[in-house]
Subunit: 200 residues, 2 copies
């Protein structure tokens, strides 16, 4: 399979990249400033140009997207804007712009996260954006044609992130990047659509 | 109770307005172009100025917010933008800007909708935005202080809207505006927070 991996150099992306390489897929690694191609996913024209360059492919996998962490009482409008543009609209652009190029029975796998389901201090933007991503996945699954599927993966705190973020996630049991990568595999190689695979 | 009702002149707002009037609450009716005050909820500065004018109050209730209905394959970026600005960010501004003015143990009640849970043709933006609103409500409930509560109401197709929208909602059993207004009442006068009242 020819698979586009956006966020390939990120904490989660590295695990997905390794899993896909082990399974001997052709992986096109995309990052903001690293990888085989540099694409700003917030920019739909840039995303469209990238896909045009690649031609056809079987899957788009996204492990990228940033959200701001700020207590509700001090969230600035610019933080809402940048978070919605990055993790929500960025992933939506990756889907919408790919539609002319993705092969029949291809798939999209987007990333949401535990903060749509459980809440931490300063996590209101993350909760809002993750919920939006999941709403998009479930609805888009009903509208895609030619057997193209779309799923989401919602990981909890990663073992790799414990050192940096543990204090923000009291009582959250971290999961291994390898296990989260398996949820991506389930989405890419499985037959389901409109699912959110929660790795907890 | 002194209650601010945003969208008071809309299909759903009229029912909430009537329910609140019957219960003898003081209702401040807000609309884009009608009501006691005209406020564009997409504009956080305008929302802040409005609240400053009103002073303290016990509840903010929103029955307003527009989303575009377009098939996934032809959604334009401008439609995403206007829908996110209206039904998501508009409602978020109503909450964030009210925090300095809302009374202790006051409440917010926002509106989402059935299209976050069940899907119809051209409903992907609605699904995304409704899910985002619900994610915001659940997270914000954990961050609000002074006993201030926040809930959402998610109505299915309204009886009043059957004539115009029936063909888009095959097999959806419509509900009365009066019953949906009761869900708003439950949120405003009840004790729960972080709930989504689904009226189906």
């Amino acid at each position: 399979m020819k698979i586009i991996l956006v966020g390939a150099n990120g904490t989660m992306g590295k695990h997905v990249n390794q899993m896909l390489a082990l399974a001997r897929h052709e992986v096109i690694r995309v990052g903001r400033a690293s990888g085989d191609f540099q694409v700003k996913m917030e920019n739909p024209q840039e995303v469209a140009q990238f896909y045009k360059k690649i031609g056809n492919f079987d899957a788009v996998v996204c492990t990228a997207g940033e959200v701001a962490f700020t207590p509700l009482l001090s969230i600035q409008d610019t933080e809402w804007h940048s978070s919605l543009q990055s993790k929500l609209m960025g992933q939506i652009h990756l889907v919408q712009q790919a539609i002319p190029y993705i092969n029949e029975r291809g798939s999209f796998t987007l990333i949401s996260g535990v903060l749509g389901d459980e809440h931490i201090r300063a996590g209101t933007i993350a909760a809002t954006v993750n919920s939006a991503v999941e709403g998009f996945v479930k609805a888009a699954a009903c509208e895609l044609s030619k057997g193209v599927r779309i799923n989401g993966v919602s990981p909890t705190l990663l073992q790799d992130s414990v050192k940096d973020y543990e204090s923000y996630f009291p009582g959250f049991i971290p999961v291994s990047g390898e296990n989260v990568a398996q949820a991506f595999k389930k989405s890419i190689l499985g037959i389901e659509t409109g699912q959110i695979y929660r790795v907890r």
